[in-house]
């Protein structure tokens, strides 16, 4: 068991008439298993599973696309695509129990950093 503290900060003072400036923080109780920060090469092949759908539990998932040029697709372990992570971008979201998660590069292999923690 441990406590994960995620903080999201969004800022923008130039794009809209009303400035965006807010921050949210959470305190997440986590259990096992967890996957510490990991770097992997994601290829254009299908079925590169990062979170096993056979492992029960809700997982808090972080990923960052370290590539300078190409995006990476995030999908369920049933190959249902739901997000494209652009070059340099990151995401943080919960993965539902039994869903798992796969990544697949679109154009060329990319380097992905990721980590996940099971909800305690």
């Amino acid at each position: 068991m441990g406590t994960l503290v995620p903080t999201l900060t969004l800022t923008d003072s130039t794009t809209f008439s009303d400035e965006i400036s807010f921050s949210v923080t959470d305190s997440l109780t986590t259990g096992t298993p967890s996957q510490g920060l990991t770097k992997v090469t994601i290829t254009t092949a299908d079925n590169q599973e990062l979170v096993d759908n056979a492992v029960s539990g809700v997982f808090y998932f972080f990923a960052k696309n370290n590539d300078d040029t190409n995006f990476v697709i995030l999908q369920t372990t049933a190959s249902e695509q739901y997000a494209r992570l652009s070059p340099g971008e990151w995401c943080f979201f919960p993965i539902n129990d039994g869903n798992g998660l796969e990544a697949r590069a679109d154009t060329a292999s990319i380097e992905l950093e990721y980590a996940y923690w099971k909800k305690g």
């Binding site: 406590t3 800022t11 972080f62």
Partner: protein
């Protein structure tokens, strides 16, 4: 120039033997460019009193926005630990946001109905949720009066 910047920090002193202190920052760009995202729904806050699965942003009316970039923020503002909102993209269940949890995820408006972002509260006793979409464009549904 549009410069929406998103920063995530993840910290923990007791997850593992080595303390966690991670920070990721990125300016939000239009797909395949270094031009900032310049459109937004604004930050919305609403009180939901039914467990109905709803679209929280304008439903994707076609495939014309496929490949565009957008970022979505959703937070469950409930303070009851057992209350959650279930987030889906079309029929693809993503996950549950429990009380005070939030998410930040890219959104590709791939195709009609298949990629609408949907939210379903776990209880009908009332839950506050907050959400925002920062994007490079969307197609609004044609108005109908009957």
């Amino acid at each position: 120039m549009a410069t929406t910047t998103a920063t995530l920090t993840l910290t923990s002193s007791d997850l593992a033997s080595d303390a966690l202190s991670l920070s990721a920052t990125k300016t939000c760009y239009k797909a395949g460019t270094t031009i900032g995202l310049d459109q937004t729904t604004g930050l919305a806050k609403t009180y939901l009193t039914a467990v109905t699965n709803i679209d929280i942003f304008v439903p994707v009316p076609g495939a014309t926005m496929d490949g565009k970039n957008g970022k979505v923020y959703i937070a469950n503002l409930s303070t009851e630990d057992t209350e959650f909102v279930q987030i889906s993209i079309g029929d693809k269940l993503i996950g549950r946001l429990y009380a005070q949890d939030f998410m930040w995820i890219p959104w590709n408006q791939e195709a009609q109905h298949l990629s609408d972002i949907e939210l379903a509260p776990s209880v009908a006793t009332g839950m506050w949720v907050e959400f925002m979409h920062i994007h490079e464009g969307m197609v609004y549904p044609t108005a109908a009066d009957s």
